[in-house]
Structure formats: structure tokens, C-alpha cells
């Protein structure tokens, strides 16, 4: 991924995308929803959408949200990281044919998912617009008991049963419960960790190995990985680290950027670069 190229595109896109930035991120039902909203702004058939342009818009949005210090769910950041990756793959000639899906195929898969979500929303709307019982249509208001039908003497729903089970199991489990440790790894924590880790190594190291050393509690693994990956991409963008992945889903390697000074990881320095 070329940071310069990224920056230029961001600059160009920013003006046209400005109104979208006003949209409250809270109002979105996850990254696909955000992408779909951005896609609609392209006002073209989803089948003809430019995934590259969409990725740019998304990254601009996320960037702006982060500048405003909006708390973003890990889902959004992971999608941002993935789109940045996809974008770099789309822009660069395919290095090796490889067995993984090509960048084009990955873009098509994303377009497919967007189409599917949009189509689903359309049918969901149609479903909810159907005449509904006790709202638009009504059953007999004053039924008469039928001899053949045995009225069940007792009533209980599956929901009653399940919630009764859950409630009492939790009730008795609670007496043994200890206070849980915090279960989220913030981006700041992840970043600090990564900066410390790559400070020690100029060899390619698997990012997960970075994490294993730190994440003792397996329950933290997912959040730690998501936050770390987002932070890692930021470090790469700022030029203090390099990332390498052979193909999609392969392990991700990371190292301190050759030639980068030791002090290059300080927050103030990075902040200045980000604003440039």
C-alpha cells in the first residue's frame, strides 16, 4: 500500500463526501450498512458500482470520524483495514497469481454482499407493509368454543420456557461469579503495545505472535487482534512499520520500517504527519 497515493485520493474525495461526514455513525447498523449508504450516494446500480471509489469514501468517513475522536466499533475498523488492503490490491498489479481470490473477485464478492443486503431490506419493507393480523385484518372477535377442539388447559410458550431456564441458571451461577476484567482492548492500548513490540525487531514477525505474548487471557484475543490490526495499519500508513501478507487469510507479518528512526513512533510526531 502506498501511503502517498492514499493521501492524495483522500484529499480529492473529501470535498465531495463532506455531507456524508455529518451522518451520525451511531445511526448505522454496522460497516455494511455504512457502505450501502455510501454506495447509494454514487447513485448508480449496485452492479456497476466502483468498489475502489466506495472504499475511498468509506476510508474518508472513518478517518474523519476518528479525527473527531468518535468511538468506533471494531467492526468498522476491521472493515476499513480490509478495504485499505483491497484497495492496494486493486491498484497494484497482481504480484503472483496465487491460489487465493484475485482482487477483482474480492471486489465482486463485496458488491454481491451489498446487493444482497439491499435486496433483503427491500423485501423486509414489503413484508412489514403486508396486512398484519390485529393491525389491518382481524380474526373472529367473539369466538364460540368448538367441541372437537380440545382447548389446551395450560399455556406456556417456548420463549417462557427458555427464559425461565436462562434466568434461573444465571441466578444460581451468579453466586459464584467474580468481577470480570475489562474485555475490550482500546486502540490506544493496541497501538502502544505494537509500538513497543516493533521497536525491538527489524525482522518480519507474525503479528499474532506479538499479541500472544501480551494477551494472556484468551477472551481478549478477538478484541486485541481487531484493535491491533487497525493500529498496525495506522503505523504502516505513518511509515513507521511495514506489513506483509502472502495472501488473504495468510498470517500477517510486520516489522519496523527499515531506516525509520527509533523515535519515529512517538505520538506527537505521528499526529503532525497525519495532519499534513
Amino acid at each position: 500500500m502506498s501511503p502517498d497515493d492514499f493521501e492524495t485520493t483522500l484529499g480529492e474525495e473529501r470535498a465531495s463526501s463532506e455531507p456524508a461526514l455529518m451522518v451520525d455513525v451511531e445511526g448505522f447498523e454496522g460497516p455494511l450498512d455504512l457502505l450501502l449508504t455510501l454506495a447509494r450516494q454514487q447513485k448508480v446500480d449496485l452492479a456497476k458500482i466502483s468498489i475502489l471509489a466506495l472504499a475511498d469514501q468509506y476510508l474518508v468517513f472513518i478517518e474523519a470520524a476518528r479525527k473527531l475522536r468518535l468511538e468506533l466499533a471494531a467492526d468498522y475498523l476491521v472493515m476499513a483495514a480490509w478495504l485499505a488492503y483491497l484497495k492496494s490490491r486493486l491498484l497494484l498489479p497482481e504480484a503472483e497469481p496465487g491460489d487465493g481470490p484475485s482482487a477483482e473477485e474480492m471486489a465482486m464478492a463485496l458488491a454481491h454482499r451489498l446487493r444482497r443486503l439491499e435486496a433483503l431490506r427491500n423485501v423486509a419493507t414489503q413484508l412489514m407493509e403486508r396486512p398484519q393480523l390485529d393491525r389491518d385484518v382481524f380474526a373472529r372477535g367473539d369466538p364460540e368454543p368448538i367441541a372437537e377442539i380440545k382447548q389446551p388447559e395450560w399455556s406456556a410458550t417456548l420463549y417462557d420456557l427458555l427464559s425461565a431456564y436462562a434466568v434461573q441458571r444465571r441466578r444460581t451461577a451468579m453466586s459464584f461469579v467474580r468481577v470480570a476484567k475489562r474485555t475490550v482492548w482500546s486502540l490506544a492500548e493496541a497501538r502502544a503495545t505494537l509500538e513497543r513490540m516493533i521497536g525491538q525487531s527489524t525482522d518480519w514477525t507474525r503479528v499474532d505472535q506479538y499479541l500472544i505474548a501480551y494477551v494472556v487471557d484468551p477472551a481478549l484475543a478477538v478484541t486485541a487482534m481487531a484493535s491491533s490490526f487497525a493500529s498496525a495499519l495506522e503505523l504502516v500508513r505513518e511509515g513507521s512499520a511495514e506489513i506483509h501478507q502472502k495472501q488473504a487469510y495468510a498470517p500477517i507479518y510486520m516489522r519496523k520500517r527499515v531506516g525509520a528512526g527509533n523515535g519515529n513512533g512517538s505520538a506527537s510526531n505521528l499526529g503532525a504527519q497525519g495532519n499534513a
Partner: protein, 233 residues
């Protein structure tokens, strides 16, 4: 009843297209209102719902004639109107109206424990629930036909083990008791929230009728104690 036949003929010739489409809208309105109403409706109230200029009495009379030969009749009670099953078909109906009773909280909790942890004894139920079972709870559940005594635990006192029945499955719309959601699904559905201690588990239930290694069959006398599911009240 030649008079009825005559009347039918008159009605039909009045309105040639009758049934399909040509039927006045007010008859549709009256039909819907009277059908959905939970009690007989007032003539005046019905009149207010009809298009201006429509005589509610005429319309009701006509509707009554239409339904006179049907399985349901439109009947007038004082100044109110309602649909009722034709009197010659009242044998289809029953006098007995049983309002389905809701199971008590204790009963549904006990039922849930039996469903998930079967085969399970009364003492085990109490242990899981952390509450001593009230005497009537198992009785009520046996009456529902949703649980049954399966056998006796090979343990001191040889306590009875309980499990769920086919009726249980069909009432709750389950194909098999193993389809009850497990720990992850209960969590995922938002039913089981909060932090659970390590080792907290939800069993995968099975209502396999075969006795387990630690179960003995019920003895003939057990069934006479009213512990077996009663067919019907």
C-alpha cells in the same frame, strides 16, 4: 319453507350480479364489523360506520337474509346484532369453555430444568434451582402431560427420574428436545446475559426413552400413585 325460497329469489333478482362485485359495499362493511366485534353491536353504532344515505336497517335485514341459510346466521338481540352458529349446527359446539391457564413461574422453571437436564430427580431439580420445590409443582406438570416419570435412579432412596414427553415437543413446536438452544445460542439470543463463571455449562438434552445406566425401570406400583401422566382430566 317455500317462503324462504321465494325470498331468495326476490333478493337475487333485485341484484343480478349479486355475489361477484355488484354486492353493495355496506354489506361488506357490516360483515367485517360484526365478524371482528367481541360483542353484539348496536344498530346506531353500525349505522355511523356506513356510507351516508345507507339505511342500516335495510342493510342488516338483507345481510340477515343472505346468511339465513348458511352455517352462521346474523341474529338480532334487542337492538344489537351478532353472528352466531346456525342453531341446527349447535352440536358442533361445546358448552365447556376452558380458559387456558398460565403455568406458574415455579412450574415453568421446573419444566425447563427437566427438559434440559432429563433424566432428573426431584432432589436434582431442587439443587439446580437452588430452591426447594413446592409439593404441587411436579403434580401440575404431570397434569399437563408434558413430563413423565421415566424410571428410578439407582441411588439411595431410589428416587423417581423425570423426563419430557411427545406432548411436550408438540406443544412447544420442537422436533426433538436436542433442538433446545445450548449455551452459546441462549447467549446469542440475548436470553443469557452477564458474565458466567468458568465451567458454566448447558447440557445438550436428550429424551431418549431408553433407560440410562443409572436408571431402573418404574415398577408397576409406581403408576398407580398418580405419578404417570394422566391422559385427561
Amino acid at each position: 319453507m317455500p317462503s324462504v325460497a321465494k325470498k331468495l329469489v326476490i333478493v337475487r333478482s333485485d341484484e343480478p350480479q349479486s355475489e361477484q362485485g355488484g354486492r353493495p359495499e355496506e354489506l361488506r362493511l357490516l360483515e367485517a364489523l360484526l365478524f371482528a366485534a367481541s360483542e353484539p353491536l348496536d344498530e346506531a353504532m353500525l349505522g355511523r360506520q356506513l356510507p351516508a344515505g345507507v339505511d342500516v336497517r335495510d342493510a342488516l335485514a338483507r345481510l340477515k337474509a343472505e346468511y339465513a341459510t348458511r352455517g352462521v346466521n346474523l341474529v338480532r338481540i334487542g337492538k344489537k346484532w351478532t353472528f352466531r352458529t346456525a342453531s341446527d349446527l349447535s352440536w358442533l359446539l361445546t358448552k365447556k369453555t376452558v380458559e387456558a391457564r398460565k403455568l406458574s413461574r415455579a412450574a415453568i422453571e421446573t419444566l425447563a430444568i427437566i427438559a434440559y437436564h432429563q433424566p432428573v430427580t426431584r432432589a436434582e431439580i431442587e439443587e439446580i434451582r437452588g430452591v426447594v420445590a413446592s409439593v404441587g409443582t411436579l403434580d401440575v406438570l404431570l397434569k399437563t402431560g408434558w413430563i413423565r416419570p421415566r424410571g428410578r435412579r439407582k441411588a439411595p432412596g431410589r428416587p423417581i427420574t423425570y423426563g419430557t414427553t411427545e406432548t411436550f415437543l408438540s406443544h412447544f413446536g420442537l422436533e426433538e428436545v436436542g433442538d433446545l438452544p445450548g449455551l452459546d445460542e441462549l447467549k446469542g439470543a440475548g436470553l443469557l446475559e452477564g458474565h458466567l463463571p468458568p465451567g458454566f455449562a448447558v447440557p445438550i438434552p436428550s429424551d431418549d426413552g431408553a433407560l440410562r445406566d443409572d436408571e431402573d425401570p418404574l415398577e408397576p406400583g409406581d403408576l398407580d400413585l398418580g405419578l404417570a401422566p394422566r391422559r385427561e382430566e
